[in-house]
Amino acid sequence: MGTQLRLRSTKILLINLGAIGSEVVKNLVLGGINSLEIMDSSKLKEEDFSSQFFLPDKPENIGKLKVPLVIDQIKDLNNRVNLTINTATFESVFDYEDRANDYLSNFDLIIATEMPKAFMIQLNSYTRKLNIPLYVAGMHGMFGYVLLDLIKHTSVVTKDMGNQPRRPNTKINSNKLISDVSYDEKEKKENITIIDTYKPISEMFSSKELPNQLNRRQLKRLSAAFPLIFTLFDVEKPVYIEDSLDVDMLREKASLVCEKHDIPTAVITDEYLNFFSRQAFTEFAPVAALIGGCLAQDVIQYLSKKESPINNCLIVDTIRSEMPIYVL
């Protein structure tokens, strides 16, 4: 089956339509996704106008349920797309296992953005049991992340032959395994079967894998984006988004995160503490475009089975122009 047909037959659930959500929806609908449900119970806030381009330019809508306001604009991108919305709250569906299972099993792939940690882990426990791939993404101003639990995935990647042939049973990293290689001598190509295995997202929060994949120098100059993003999973989003977070509180929590992941606390710099204190939970359009672009591209590649997906944590640091992928 061709990639296009796979895209058409895949039913996707997107939870929370914020800045990243808007980008992901745009990219997937343009890319040929045919069936999409958006679950979002939020009411329109003033700051949503900074980066959510599907919103009609009508400030009088503030306080109304958000998704019904954007459905026409999204359908306008491609009138064949089968788009549905669900404005039920997360709790009303996911606090009951039967209800959650019934609902989630309608979908082939789930993308959740800007999720509080507890919800994210709860959602992931369902998707694991139902064997549904899950993407989670979020952003803090100039920074962002994508976490993936695609459970297990096999792809066949065609590459030009290098100097040394790739061999079956080679580990690319701890979660990516080359299980099989066939050689096309005539075209000088290798068809490489890669098996990606994932772990539950809850385990990423206590992973000590980083020191195993970075050398001492890389570890020393690791961007503070990673520990600070993980710190913010345990910090409540302020009621007023313009409020800065307390720098000392951030520093303290971030040090604990570093210890938990076995990385040097010295990577936490004042500069980055200031960025994160001011930018935590804020949405910024060009950064949302990056994250939404990568996420949608990875979903399309995942469905195509011709590329090995991201495994398992993408960090976006636009201050340093870095987008490392860590295996947590």
Binding site: G2, Q4, L5, K26, N27, L30, G31, G32, F49, S50, S51, F53, F54, L55, P56, D57, Q73, D76, L77, N79, G141, M142, T158, N173, K176, K186, E187, Q213, R221, S223, R278, Q279, F284, A285, P286, V287, A288, A289, L290, G292, G293, C294, A296, Q297, I300, E307, S308, I310, N311, L314, D317, T318, I319, R320, S321, E322, M323, P324, I325, Y326
Partner: protein, 591 residues
């Protein structure tokens, strides 16, 4: 923002949401159906409208911050529409272009005016942004660029002369028209008008245009045959197809005399003469093996056999499960169809036939644009620009920005999604930014009355050239050197092509001074102004290759503004050429 296509739509959205003050958008294209699946600001109803006007209107829907938008429908290289006075108004230029010629042109203008330029481009999953700070970082021409291959529609549709023309026809036109989703059955009037205009921009031959439009209608008929659910066994699809594309269409082309005045005429295929042999071949058991013989060039008969088999396989697939089929070089039915039809067309036009293996390579090289890559690249483009604007409090903003900007490539690996590299200093061998340039602004009176001899004398006086110089107008027109004195007494306006928007290249034939390039402009409000420049002494090549990688010369004069000279006396860091910036420690951008 030059270009309102795939990257342009995404970039404009980012800029508008980032609260830029005023954005001018230039594009000369109109919207076509094939744009809709990756240019999200365009809708079906916009087909045939101007891209620049449409994007400006479309982003108004989310112009929450009231950014001022000014669209221009026109060719950016048109110096009447876009003179230097227009260019000088901008503080930053974005290239979101798809062709080399316009990219080069904008790069040149930005060099003349010392405008910061963001260059961006994507091919498939690969994309790149490169900030350019004229004379401080590499410009677009510092690294030689491979010319991408693209062919005029008319070459593909009417007058092929190389195998690749036939392959492009078979894949992008024939196959797409009949089997793929991108072409619609119910062509709107706007579609037709748009197509007509597109063709008219490439050829003035009315008969040829009418012919191509008629061919299109007939493809819709073929498409209807394959779409109808009649049993493929009863279908005469193959016969109708072959008769149309290899006989009727070719005969019709032959009737357009203007096409064949200086070209070899094609010979329509006489299908009848193959019918019997084709039947016999089909009956042979070994015929099935032809398609796996990928390195041998098949005979015309074999190609017909393969085409027959592929047509019926594709027809069968459409009749049973699939609603459309896209070309995929790894989908053997689609590849066989393209190989066989390209080869038979090549035979008709007296062009060399190719093996399946070769055609697979060539057809596979035509890389589609991908919406998500455009989105990612446009995100970086906008971010890098914001970074620049956080630096411009400094008087030496280009140097500041130079050390805090990166060239960024998407390159997806298991451990990273992008690669960023420090900017590189200009190449001393760059054909564009390694020599002096400036804008020469004539008063209307001088432009009308001055002789070439008068101008050359003024140039010598201003820049210290001795006698032995040559002057080239535009790309390659020599108007003066020591043994071409015919033009000396002519007035400037009497020299063909001498006008505002053109360039003059002055070369010192005695090799003492560097070359000087002058952009001709008019100064309506006063007298003729020569740019104030101090020309460097020419460096001899025998100083050795390494010189290029060395520290730049201190105090070198590079400026090009009309009336100022900037001396670079600040030491400039040497940067590693082409090395990845492993640590981003040089980046100190602030939001």
């Amino acid at each position: 923002m030059v270009g309102a296509g795939g990257i342009g739509c995404e970039l404009l959205k980012n800029l508008v949401l980032s609260h830029v003050g005023e954005i001018h958008i230039v594009d000369l294209d109109s919207i076509t159906l094939s744009n809709l699946n990756r240019q999200f600001l365009f809708r079906q109803k916009d087909i045939d409208k101007s891209k620049s006007l449409t994007v400006a209107e479309a982003v108004e829907a989310f112009n929450y911050l009231n950014v001022k938008l000014v669209p221009h429908h026109g060719n950016i290289m048109d110096s009447d529409l876009f003179p230097v006075s227009w260019w000088s108004e901008f503080s930053y230029v974005f290239n979101a272009l798809d062709n080399l010629e316009a990219r080069r042109y904008v790069n040149q203008i930005c060099l003349y005016l010392k405008k910061p330029l963001m260059e961006s481009g994507t091919t498939g999953y690969d994309g790149q942004v490169q900030p350019i700070y004229p004379y401080v970082s590499e410009c677009f021409d510092c690294q030689p660029k491979a010319t991408p291959k693209s062919f005029p529609v008319c070459t593909i549709r009417s007058t092929p002369s190389q195998p690749v023309h036939c392959i492009t026809w078979a894949k992008e036109f024939l196959f797409a028209q009949i089997f793929d989703e991108t072409s619609t059955n119910d062509q709107s009037e706007a579609d037709r008008a748009n197509q007509r205009r597109k063709l008219e921009s490439e050829t003035e031959d009315k008969a040829e245009i009418e012919n191509m439009l008629r061919e299109n209608d007939e493809f819709n008929e073929l498409r209807n045959i394959v779409k109808s659910k009649t049993s493929t066994k009863d279908s005469n699809f193959f016969e109708v197809l072959v008769n149309k594309i290899f006989s009727t269409d070719i005969e019709r082309l032959l009737r357009i005399d203007s096409l064949w005045k200086s070209r070899r005429k094609p010979t329509p295929l006489r299908i009848e003469s193959y019918t019997k042999a084709l039947k016999e071949l089909s009956a042979e058991r070994s015929a099935k093996d032809i398609v796996v013989d990928e390195t041998r060039v098949w005979s015309v008969l074999e190609n017909l056999f393969v085409l027959q088999a592929a047509s019926s396989a594709l027809h069968e697939r459409l009749a049973s499960s699939e609603s459309f089929i896209s070309f995929d070089k790894d989908d053997d039915d689609t590849l066989n169809f393209v190989v066989a039809s390209a080869n038979i067309r090549a035979f008709i036009f007296g062009i060399e036939l190719k093996s399946k293996f070769d055609i697979k390579q060539i057809a596979g090289n035509i890389i589609p644009a991908i919406a998500t890559t455009n989105a990612i690249i446009a995100g970086f483009s906008c971010l890098a620009y914001l970074n620049y604007f956080n630096q411009i409090t400094s008087s030496d903003s280009f140097h500041k920005a130079f050390s805090s900007s990166s060239t960024i490539f998407t390159s997806i690996r298991p451990n990273k999604y992008i690669t960023s590299a420090a900017l590189i200093e200009p190449s001393k061998k760059c054909p564009s930014c390694s020599h002096a340039r400036g804008i020469l602004r004539f008063s209307p009176e001088d432009l009308n009355n001055m002789t070439l001899e008068g101008l050359i004398q003024l140039i010598r006086d201003h820049y210290g050239f001795d006698d032995d110089i040559s002057v080239i107008l535009g790309k390659s027109k020599l108007i003066y050197d020591y043994d071409l004195e015919d033009n000396l007494q002519k007035k400037l306006t009497e020299i063909n092509g001498f006008k505002a928007g053109e360039t003059l290249l002055i070369q010192d034939e005695s090799d003492a001074l560097e070359n000087l390039e002058l952009y001709i402009d008019t100064n309506t409000s006063g007298k003729t102004l020569f740019p104030t420049l101090k020309l460097k002494e020419k460096q001899m090549d025998n100083d050795g290759e390494n010189k290029d990688e060395d520290m730049p010369e201190q105090g070198e004069v590079i400026s090009l503004d009309d009336d100022e000279v900037v001396e670079l006396d600040e030491p400039v860091e040497t940067r590693k050429r082409g090395k990845e910036s492993l640590d981003g420690s040089s980046k100190k951008a602030k939001l």
